[in-house]
Structure formats: C-alpha cells, structure tokens
C-alpha cells in the first residue's frame, strides 16, 4: 500500500508544467491528489513523474467573467463550496460539492481535478455536463475550449490530450430564481453513489419551471444528460411524470451490487427528488 517510485516536480509556471508533461509519456498532473494518490497507493497507477500544480500562479481563482463563472484548476473543493459567488452563479456546483467525499477530502481535492479525473460516479463532472459548461485546456499549441458535451469519452477518459492541462472550468451564470440539488443513493454516506442526479431549475414569473437541467451520476461509464427528462418538463409534464424518463436511452452499468434494472429505477427516484428539491430552492 505504498506507491511505486516516481519523480515529483512542482513547477512555478504553466509553461514549465506543460514542458514537463510533453517530455514524459507517463507523467500525471497532480492538483489535490484525492483521487490520484489513492490510485498510486493501490498501485493502480504507476506514473514516472508527478507534476504538481500547487506553485503555478493564477490557477487558484474564482471569478465572474462576462456571463460565466470561471473556477481555476487549483481551487479547492472546500474553498468553492464556501464561496458566495459560486453559490449565486452556479448553485448546482455548491450543491454537488456538499456530496463530494467527506469534508476531510474536500479540504484538499480540487474542482478541476475531479472534473479531469472523470470518474463516472463523481458529482462535479455531472454538474459540468448538466450546466453545459466548458473546460479550458492549455497545451503546447495554446489554449482551447472543450464543451462539456464533448469532454467525457468514457471511464476515466476525457477529450484532454496527453500534453494538455485543464486550467479552468467555465459555467454559465445562473439566472435569478434558480435552485439546484444533488441527490444520491449510496450504501454509506460519502461513498460513490449507486446512482445520483444533479438538477438545476429556473422558475419564471408565474413560478412554473422555465428551464431544467438534469444529469445522472454513476448510471453509465460517464456523466449523462437526462435529455428526455428536460424535454418532458419543457413540454409541460409534471416532475413526477418527467422523472420517469430518466433512464430513456441510458445503457446503465450492470454489476452484482446494483443490477442495471435497479440502477434505472434509482435514476428515476433520484431525478424526481433532485428536481423537487431544486424547484423548492428556486422559489
């Protein structure tokens, strides 16, 4: 339960970090380490080099830029969880953060790290997908923006190239009268969920749902948008009726603990609960 040998570097500029990453095929980028270091301890990952971003300046900021909230790569989960700007502009991120691991994990874990790690049972990737956010990545060729819908390719796999580093995530700022919730069903609180849902709801002046965004956690090999639920709500369906469509088009993970039929059932339950909570918080 000790990691295999590796080299460690804590560069003081992003360019230096990118050069180190380009020069080593097995290098891994280290932010908070709350997913990566367990993998090293279990020897499920044996990189030759860890590139720690902790001394790279400018990555530790939360800022409103135009119509987006931008969260830098080394912003800790606890820092974002307690940030009033995040609560106002991206209440779904705040709601999702409360379910990430435990407080002792969130003090070290980063928002960007969880999004780049791409665990299908993690909360923040689902929130990114539900919000139609984008990932800002820097590589040798410069900076590019990757829409959330194109970012997740499968289990622990993203559209980031081997020589690219996630530098920030950008999320569209929530309109007024918006509420959000993250609901999970797990064997123990803080465990990865058998299935979960994130939902963000915006109400119109009459108090009816003007827009709903929903994504599922842990249903498939990547976070998945519950498009059929959103369409049903847009067509005037009740939350209870719309939530029945949570599993539409989803090819669920099947394992002995949570068979696929049960997982689809859970998807409907957590979707309904998340939408109801989000709506009540939007008022």
């Amino acid at each position: 339960m000790k990691p295999a040998a590796f080299d460690y570097a804590a560069p003081t500029s992003l360019d230096e970090a990118l050069q180190l990453l380009a020069a080593n095929d097995t290098a891994k980028v280290l932010a908070g380490g709350q997913s990566l270091i367990p993998l090293l301890n279990l020897r499920l990952a044996e990189p030759e080099l860890l590139i720690d971003l902790r001394r790279v300046p400018g990555l530790n900021e939360i800022a409103r830029q135009g119509n987006e909230l931008v969260i830098g790569a080394t912003v800790r989960q606890r820092q974002a969880e307690r940030d009033p700007l995040v609560a106002e502009d991206a209440p779904l991120i705040t709601a999702a953060l409360a379910e990430v691991g435990h407080p002792q994990i969130r003090s070290r874990g980063t928002v960007g790290g969880s999004i780049a790690h791409a665990d299908p049972a993690a909360e923040l990737p689902a929130a990114l997908v539900a919000l139609d956010g984008r990932v800002i990545a820097r590589g040798p060729g410069g900076e590019r923006s990757i829409p959330a819908a194109d970012f997740y390719l499968g289990f622990l796999t993203t559209a980031l190239d081997d020589d690219e580093i996630l530098v920030a995530v950008a999320l569209p700022a929530a309109p007024p009268r918006t509420g959000a919730a993250c609901v999970e069903i797990a064997q123990r609180a803080g465990d990865y969920a058998a299935c979960g849902a994130v939902a963000q709801v915006t109400l119109d002046d009459a108090g009816t749902i003007a827009q709903a965004r929903v994504a599922l956690i842990g249903a498939t090999d990547r976070p998945v948008r519950a498009a059929a639920v959103e369409e049903a709500l847009a067509g005037g369906a009740s939350i209870a009726d719309a939530a029945r469509h949570a599993g539409d088009g989803v090819e669920p993970i099947d394992d002995p603990r949570v068979p696929s039929a049960y997982r689809i059932h859970l998807a409907g339950v957590v979707t309904r609960r998340a939408l109801e909570q989000a709506r009540s918080r939007a008022a």
């Binding site: 990691p3 040998a5 080299d7 270091i37 860890l50 606890r78 070290r108």
Partner: protein, 161 residues
Amino acid sequence: MSTHTIRVTVNGTEHEAEVPARLTLADFLRERLDLTATHLGCEHGVCGACTILLDGETARSCIMLAAQADGSEITTLEGVVAEDEDLHPVQQAFWDRHGLQCGFCTPGIIMSTLELLREHPEPTREQIDDALGGHLCRCTGYVKIVEAVEQAAGELRRSRA
C-alpha cells in the same frame, strides 16, 4: 526517484527534511518525526485514521505526499494537549463517554472534532454526522462518539464563557 527538501512546522516545531518523492505525509510524521498518534488504516483515504490538521483544516495524511506539504503548518494529535494538562477536553469527553474501545480510529476523529467545534461550537447532530462521516470505527457503533462530541462541545463552550 527524486528527493526534495521540505520545511514544515509540526505542532509548533519547525523541521527541515530531505524526503523521497513517494513518501506520504503520514509516513513522514510517523517514521521521521516519530509522531505515531497519526494512525494508518486503509492507506487510500477512506478510513480517516490518519486525519491531521493541515494549515488548520482536516486532511488525510495518507493520501498526501510529504513533498506537497512543503511550507505547511501541521497539527497532529500530539500537538493538541497543552503542556499543563493530561487530556484535551475533547479527549476527556471521549474517555468519559466511552467514545472509544480499541482506540485505533480515535486520533483522526479527535482532529475532525476539533475542526467541527471550532467552526460550530454548538453542533447539530447532522453537523456531527457530516464532520465524522468520513471516519470508520469498528468498535463503538458511533453512538458513544457522537455523545462524546456533544459533551466536548458543552465543555469547550463553558471554558470559553
């Protein structure tokens, strides 16, 4: 494997050390500084026995590298007791309420309790559950732990009043 010079302050004492890249902070504390109150259970961030205060916030020392801790201020269980007292009020409450049996998980739970009571001097049951949910205890069934935290909260409020 690379080695790194780190400077950390542990329980008020400054240390400078040369560490290999793969040395975890928990092993640094236990094997280099002989601070063995920080326990190692699962070694992958699940059980909470290795919890310490890093710059005042609880963190898992088993899933952090010593090299990452360079420049940090660390408090372990050894650092929570004032020189003129045998037990910290939180430790005393765990003793009084039987909040431990074998005691393996206790050091981590004490560190999380200290953070909880600093942020919420009068914690609700829900806040206690949230703060301690990341700690596994195979002996007590947790009920006595929660009672100990509530007693400690009362003691600390009285001592501040």
